[in-house]
Amino acid sequence: MTVLDEPVNETVAPERVPHVDFDTSPDRYRHWRFTVDGETATVYLDVDEGGGLVPGYELKLNSYDLGVDIELHDLTQRLRFEYPQVRSIVLTSGKDSNFCAGANIRMLAGSSHPWKVNFCKFTNETRNGIEDMSAAGQTWIAALNGTAAGGGYEMALACERILLVDDRSSAVSLPEVPLLGVLPGTGGLTRVIDKRRVRKDRADVFATKSEGFGGRKAVEWKLVDEAVARREWDRVVAERAEELKGDRPADAQGIALSPLARTEADDAITYDHVRVTIDRGARTATLVVAVPEMTDDPAALHEQGAAHPLLAITRELDDAILRLRTNELEIGTWLILTEGAVEHALAADRLIADHQDDWLVAETTRFLKRTLKRLDVTSRSLIALIEPGSCFAGPFLELALACDRQYMLEGTFEEAEDATLPSGAEATEPATLVVTNAQFGTFPMGNGLSRLESRFYGESLDDVPRDTPLTGADADDAGLVTDAPDDIDWTDEIRILLEERASLSPDALTGMEANHRFVGPETMETRIFGRLTAWQNWIFVRPNASGPEGALRKYGTGRKADFDQKRV
């Protein structure tokens, strides 16, 4: 935990909140380094105290902020795509006696509410991504060579095995409740009981005991898997890294994740295939995913690497989502469109469906899966506009199904200015969408269901027409779109819908959408993004945490928080 010696009472003023950039690469890391030795990578958290993303705090004791996590996210992507032969990953600290003190308190105390929420969401996604890597044969092992507190321990919880050095002083802890009056916000409470199966009474003791547990007790309570003496440390860590290796192809050759080509203007972000335009008056962003011609041959993916359309689109979309989410808080509605021939999308569909045994195809598929999941937890109203010239087919249909509503034009536009897509204005063929195998489990949501299953929860999917182009009327009949107006109605319907949406409470919309998007079973993921996050976000705005007398503000001032004692 970062110890503060001065009170923190100001929030981050708007001018101090930077425009967040998610671009980085190993040569630019300030807080991480990694080595790859054969099939094992070792990842060192070594935070640069002066390298905070926002001025005003020091990242002491290996504590982190969003900037640290952006590098970790990049690092995971590198290991996936550039080092596919890596089968185990050891996460440890580059500091001598400390693993990680978690999220920086001064940063949290000084941050606006949206900043805290966005920060937690992104770190949660990265933790989930780490588990997704382990499931894909790159097993993460936490080698806690010093105390892991709060978010530091939560990072370890995302790994499949936790080793803690047994030096009579290092411990794991979740001190958020007793010291800060907030929750461990990156899945800590959830993973302790769901993943590590710690009994709830012990979890309660642990999460209220600021100093946590080390040594044998930590093992006995299943908080860590092993407590390892110092003299055994290197050997045991190396052994575990060897034993826990996942399943990866031995001959896998990585591809380079070259920097994204992106141009930014005030109201636009343009990539090779994805383009975003922002209408600030209407508070909407229009995301167009243009799908170019591609082959269904995996060799092309290996040959083109990051330039291959499927991988490039996924990277661009992921980056666009992150940028809009973090930097454009007031753009409350995203219109999502695709552009290109349906046949292009179906080539991508075949590539994915027929070549999951190819590591790069599989990795790209998982990347797209994670990107789609980002949409699922994005606190914006998502509206798919399915217009002529679009290609909502197979994997790209998932974009529409991730949206809160889908509007599909029946027929074509008679008046060119009604079309959102330039190519749609002249289109003589009506829009069609195609349901494929991709809708049946390739891209599960956090609840473990496909978006199609979630849409028709509890109903049979047997009648959903597959592998056939559906017009607006067909799609409407099949329940795949919200409405299929014709060109006479289209403009008014969409305009009124968007204006009406823009007039509603942003908070109520966020809550409503988050509730509607996830039906059915709870999983660890839905519990983290639903239960844990919702409670955390509530606590964040309560005076007991964030008020001038709240625990988050008083921490490190030498004075106690003054709680409103009413239980709510």
């Binding site: 074509t412 008679e414 060109d487 109605d489 305009r495 819908l497 009406e500 007039s503």
Partner: protein, 475 residues
């Protein structure tokens, strides 16, 4: 996309100043709606079989266009779509958008509220046609029959006006609402009209005059507040409708004039108040009809204190009567107002934020307007040398909606017990006996220039035609 259209020669069939011929959205909507409207008119419109009727048709909004007279077969009446002249500089006169240019499209934020206001207004228009469906059969003269049909076709046109707004500005949801306007019917058990007063039958001509005087006058005030709307097409539509509504008021005012005049004549001739035996309607009975229709119409203004009205005002979608002539800030955010209240058995007033008192404000304007008719009718009585006076009952009398609902208040404003009120009710409101007497007088008079026994002839005809003009032709 192609489709078989237009089947209808729009400009010829539907006089309009909204470029119907150039608007395929409207055309498609009306193509479907117009046949349904004609079916509705056939089923629910005037039941009397006529050859043609001397009617006024609006063919334009200008001085010459809006009152075009001719004999027209009823089912060939050309219901038109008219908005008053466009003022490009018009700004919103009230609420939080005060001073901003008026909206030419429905702002999405207010779609639901605007649609609701238009649907409620639109629902009243065909309702009265349905309520008055059988009246033609007992018309006291051809002149009156013609006036009834004129009111009917214009109520039909007002329905068109509201349907135009729903079709032109509210997309698919608007089209569905337009269909529902024909599917609900006055007095229907399954799908009645939205407002209670429009499910009451209009069984006789005295009720008709009362309805056009009191209930259509509510319509005038509602239209007047919608005329102030920041949604310009609604404003312009209502402004033009108000011209026609004025004629309906005229039918009511002069109709009651003539009943009162005839009653006065009979009172003098027979030297008695009891003119029933002489084929007239006694003044006490006229007073009871006033009591009933006035109070039912007061209910149409809703609760004294209304958050809906406040929201509409703040949003700029429904203003106050003659908003722009009022001398205040037109926002009312910090002002206070008084509303009628009934508390602990006492008639009293509550102070509330002015925004919440807008229904009361409008009802107050309406009441003052209603008083002018009473003055007219009492002048007729006075000139005839009759001592008695007609009056408006107390605002709390016989109310089903608002602060006085459930209170027992006499026409002169005294609070009495429920049993007392019920015991005396027959002296204040039309009884079955009264209604039977009025109905017994309702015999058709179809000879030009002749008039029924219970009503005096009009002083002048329509459009400078003589009173004995053949206003209606029969087969």
């Amino acid at each position: 996309m192609t489709s078989a259209r237009p089947k209808i020669d729009f400009d010829a069939k539907i006089p309009n100043n909204v470029d119907l011929a150039g608007d395929r959205k409207l055309q498609r909507a009306l193509e479907r709606w117009q046949p349904n409207f004609l079916d509705w008119w056939g089923d629910m419109g005037p039941a009397v079989d006529t050859k043609d009727v001397y009617l006024r048709t609006a063919v334009d909004v200008g001085r010459d266009g809006w009152a075009h007279f001719d004999h027209v077969p009823m089912n060939e009446y050309r219901w038109g779509v008219f908005l008053s002249e466009h003022d490009p500089d018009r700004t919103i006169a009230f609420g939080e958008h005060k001073g901003e240019p008026v909206w030419q499209e429905v702002p999405g934020e207010y779609r639901a509220d605007l649609q609701r206001l238009i649907v409620i207004q639109g629902d009243t228009e065909p309702a009265s046609v349905e309520q008055q469906r059988f009246l033609g059969a007992t018309a006291p003269s051809l002149y009156d029959m013609r006036n009834l049909f004129q009111v009917n076709v214009e109520e039909g046109r007002h329905l068109w006006a509201m349907v135009y707004l729903l079709h032109a500005y509210f997309g698919r949801a608007g089209r569905e609402e337009a269909d529902q306007l024909l599917a609900r019917n006055s007095g229907s058990d399954d799908s009645p009209r939205i407002l209670g007063a429009f499910n009451e039958e209009t069984p006789d001509w005295l009720s008709f005059y009362m309805f056009t005087y009191f209930t259509d006058r509510d319509g005038k005030y509602q239209l007047g507040t919608l005329k102030e709307s920041g949604f310009d097409p609604l404003s312009r539509t209502c402004e033009f409708m108000l011209k026609e509504e004025a004629h309906h008021m005229f039918v009511g005012t002069t109709g009651i004039d003539r009943v009162v005049r005839r009653t006065a004549e009979l009172m003098q001739t027979h030297d008695t108040d009891e003119v029933a035996g002489a084929g007239g309607i006694p003044l006490t009975m006229i007073q009871k009809y006033i009591n009933f229709h006035y109070t039912v119409s007061l209910d149409l203004f809703g609760n004294e204190s209304s958050t809906n009205a406040a929201n509409y005002f703040t949003a700029g979608i429904k203003g106050r009567w003659q908003e722009e002539r009022r001398d205040d800030d037109h926002r009312l955010a910090d002002d206070a107002g008084h509303v009628d209240a009934f508390r602990d058995g006492q008639i009293t007033r509550n102070e509330v934020p002015a925004l919440l008192a807008l229904n009361q404000d409008l009802r107050h304007e309406y009441i003052n307007d209603c008083k002018t008719g009473l003055k007219r009718w009492n002048r007729i009585l006075q000139k005839a040398g009759i001592d008695a006076e007609l009056y408006l009952p107390h605002v709390g009398f016989n109310r089903q909606v608002g602060a006085f609902a459930g209170a027992h208040i006499t026409p002169d404003g005294k609070v009495v017990s429920e049993s007392d009120w019920k015991a005396r009710k027959d002296a204040w409101l039309p009884t079955e006996l009264d209604k039977t007497h009025v109905r017994s007088l309702m015999h058709p008079v179809l000879e030009p220039g002749k008039i029924a026994s219970w009503i005096a002839p009009p002083s002048t005809g329509i459009n400078d035609k003589p009173v004995d003009f053949e206003y209606v032709h029969f087969h």
